[in-house]
Subunit: 143 residues, 2 copies
């Protein structure tokens, strides 16, 4: 997997540093969104000398190259991060455990076109996030 990330960095004209690969591997290893803090706390276990501003600048740079995606969802006031996927997905976000389920496919492309044309609006993208409770949390909540 690291090889894939090295390739992506090279393609983007970025140097392959251990810190960048570390951040990418952390993002790849998790299935939920991560905050700057989350990533830093995981990173420092592997590279004790890494600093917060390095993680900050790595995420900023990877975002600007569309290798990482910034996410603003209602489970946190902080900016969260995930690896950018080529495929268009939406999210089911558990309000309790904050697990994120990626849902492939998109039901609204036709609708988007219709609304855009009705309102003379040029669409560039959309966000669709669902909030609720995953099966485990739903069960525990009822106890």
């Amino acid at each position: 997997m690291s090889q894939y990330f090295e390739k992506r960095l090279t393609e983007a004209g970025l140097k392959k540093t251990k810190h960048r690969l570390l951040v990418l591997n952390i993002l790849n290893a998790t299935k939920t969104f991560l905050s700057m803090d989350d990533i830093f706390n995981q990173a420092i276990k592997v590279e004790p000398t890494i600093s917060f501003s390095t993680v900050y600048r790595i995420l900023e740079m990877l975002s600007s190259h569309h290798i990482v995606k910034e996410v603003n969802v209602d489970i946190s006031k902080q900016t969260l991060y995930e690896l950018a996927h080529d495929d268009h997905t939406h999210h089911l976000i558990c309000l309790r455990c904050h697990k994120v389920i990626h849902v492939e496919g998109c039901p609204i492309h036709d609708y988007q076109d219709a609304v855009a044309s009705k309102h003379n609006f040029t669409m560039t993208n959309h966000n669709l996030d669902f909030y609720g409770y995953c099966k485990q949390c739903e069960t525990q909540q009822n106890k």
Copy 2:
């Protein structure tokens, strides 16, 4: 209109103060989302002695009573606010002028049910926001 807001405050068991009514009227008068700063700057023109923390606490309280809705969208890192509407709407948000167009109707209720059942997820709500350029901005951008 103020009478309507007075009624809502009373119903929520909140005192009717001039500051609260002012904040509500400011939110009502605008068609875009407003940040704390925006609201404070408009408020201080009418009530020069109002303080930032008052506006902050008013918005917090109105949000908790579902009279005002907090909105997190990608045009600002700040929390934005709008009056809560009873009807379920989605937004077209202009990335250039930040105008917000409310779109009634929702194309995804059926889809939501299908996805929820497929993933054993209990849905409570969803966000669907469209980003792009309104007609005026699209025209100007091409100049």
